[in-house]
């Protein structure tokens, strides 16, 4: 089943994927165990003439066992999840690479701060639906929406964050591999929701310098 996972090109994606695999193995084993027992019981204990069902109301030891074991597994899973979650969503690393993305029906408006490093100044550079970033660089995204809730989703980065009108959400990613990755909206946002997508372009540092020199350089007034 997990062979359908898109290729992971982010720095933290492998942590998500390994949790995914771990839960997959645990649940698959539980599924097989319960299903095999169920089918075995259905065959072994099918109604047969002359045999009476066991008169039994339960077993406290068994109840305790099958309460404690799942509880222990789930608590361990929780604690394993806490650090990865904190790393991705709570502890946003510092970086000098910041962009602003504003979602609107049905586009991603991307803003680079320009030479002064500040948003909302005349040297801002705007793109429709296209993000350009260097690899191996923490990218801080200031995510906003100007109308309804959208969701900024990059499957190859295991990255998703809703954009909520009325607030700016600071989030981040770091890509490890150059390439062009699809950036769909993952939250229903109206009749044009399907097809609202952009592209994340990840460059090698050299290629990024070239791109930035061409597209981000201050325009002559």
């Amino acid at each position: 089943m997990l062979r359908w996972l898109p290729e992971d090109v982010s720095t933290y994606g492998h942590e998500i994927d390994s949790l995914f695999y771990l839960i997959y193995y645990i649940t698959a084993a539980t599924f097989v165990l319960v299903t095999v027992l169920m089918i075995w019981f259905l065959i072994k204990y099918r109604e047969q003439p002359g045999r009476r069902a066991v008169y039994n109301h339960g077993n406290t030891t068994l109840e305790i066992i099958w309460t404690v074991i799942p509880a222990a597994i789930l608590i361990v899973l929780s604690f394993m999840s806490v650090n990865t979650w904190a790393k991705i969503k709570r502890n946003i690393p510092a970086s000098d690479f910041e962009i602003q993305v504003t979602a609107k029906q049905f586009n991603w408006d991307v803003v680079y701060p320009g030479a002064d490093g500040k948003f909302g100044t005349p040297d801002d550079v705007k793109f429709d639906n296209d993000l350009h970033v260097p690899m191996n660089k923490v990218v801080r995204v200031h995510l906003m929406s100007s109308d309804v809730i959208h969701s900024f989703f990059i499957p190859n980065l295991r990255f998703k964050q809703d954009a909520v009108p009325g607030r700016t959400i600071l989030t981040w990613f770091e890509a490890k591999k150059a390439g062009r990755y699809e950036l769909p909206c993952a939250e229903l946002c109206g009749f044009g929701h399907s097809g609202m997508k952009g592209w994340l372009n990840v460059y090698t540092p050299e290629d990024y310098q070239k791109w930035a020199a061409e597209k981000l350089a201050p325009k002559p007034q």
Binding site: I26, Y45, R52, A53, I75, S81, G190, G192
Partner: protein, 586 residues
Amino acid sequence: MSESAAAHGAHGHHPKPSFISHYLFSLDHKMIGRQFLFVGLLMLMIGGILAMLVRWQLAWPESPVPGLGFISEPYIYPGPNGGGIIPPQTYNALFTMHATIMIFFVVMPIMVGTFGNFLIPLMIGAGDMAFPKLNMLSFWVGAISGIVMLSSFFVPGGPAAGGWTGYATLSAKTQYTGVEWGQHLWIIALMLNGVSSLMGAINYITTVVNMRAPGMGYFRMPLTVWSLFITAILLLLALPVLTAALAMLLFDRMAGTSFFLPEGGGEPLLWQHMFWFFGHPEVYILVLPAMGITSDLLSTFSRKPIFGYHAMAFSMIAIAFLSWIVWGHHMFISGMNPLLGTAFMMTTMVIAVPSAIKVFNWLGTLWGGSIRLTVPMLFALGFVSNFLIGGLSGIFMASTPVDIFIHDTYFIVAHFHYVVAGIIFALFAAVYYWFPKMFYRQMNQPLGKIHFVLTYIFFNGAFFPMHFLGVGGHMRRIYNPLQYEFITPMHDWNVFITWSALILGASQIFFLINFFWSLFAGKKAERNPWQANTLEWSAPTPPPHGNFEVTPTVYRGAYEYSSPEVQEDWLPQDKDLGSRAAAKAH
């Protein structure tokens, strides 16, 4: 505790009711239960057809649906040979209304309305519900809410298209969806539906607390009654929150307020908090009755006491309690403080424990039984199998980091269909099982088995591959998956799912034929055809107004199957062994 029940049993003569008072404005809980059933089954067909249209579009995007060309533009665009092409706006309305109808107008009226009404008084040995007039009112307000909801298909702009979750701000302003009255009516219908459910809930709780027959202590109640009792408490506490949120949404839309609109100082996430504070208990409102019914059926057809009765009752209470503190797991990536996400992950992991206890106890019930694979038993086992998958897949999204990736993908769609659409198995189990007491005839068993096998295979064919799509990142609620390069390679699965869904829908014809044929021409049912212990089978068939010839006295729990005290392998709750033993001695 049971004086009113006793008084009711002694009523005796009733004047012969007219058609209208018997079939339309009946005060009899059994007739009200049947009314909910017929309305629910009709809505199931409508909700099912909407799902088929959604599936058609996903497998063969923008190709004409046969026979749909009669609907005018802009709702459907004409295609060749009378076909019709579904545009994006209509597609959004289709899945919105599919979910709304299935949740509020199929599962709730049937699992809670029908079986709550029909079974609670019969199973606790009462003559009727505590408030028969309130009961009738609950049905009719529910029916009106259904009419309002269906009428939204016919207003300009079409029905609501903001998803069944109606997230603000999309749902809060007409300009965002282009739907004006459709969304208004959606809100109004759900408010009415909430009032209907609230009246039912008060009635169920009062009946269970006050009207149990002599000897029917709380811990002698069948788990079906326990589940409906707990469900009623959840309904009572959860629905007002939804109704309040809906009222605020309606004010935002019609009165210019800004509860959920940031430009007026409102907060879009407030809607999500209120919606899911209702919405997560709602999931258990839907699934708890299915669990209770499944427990009773597994015990009856294994001819064996339910394994761990107290563990089963307390795990339902635990689920109900925990369901109030897990709502945030729907909002991990909503922009809510991520620290809160950690807290909600913990509570969500905890709620998996009582669910696991239930599955293991069902297994324990089968162990050592003498299992009769009747049609209701097959469907009950089908429910267990689906709930197992739905419960296990829930663990993935409980883990916050994994949820970052699978949130809003088909993995979620697969998960909640295994849980919520899986309830249809318990629903069918219950209809096949109680049909003899509801309609005095037996349903056909071979036809029922064909119905089970086809439903089970194609249910899994339709929903299991959705996990693969979700793992691949396929978003939910998209109109055309072929617009995305990373989804296109998985498209064969979409086609496979649609074929499975179409055959799943077509297989229901076996149920319809069986149901209506048996209604008029089925084999006449005896009083206790399944040799079951619970009180409804001690009542005559058909049960008269007031249900019992004499108010039953309860001597034991509901699960004394294969008891060494008697020769036969069942021992009804109201069977007085003391006097029989005494009579033998003389």
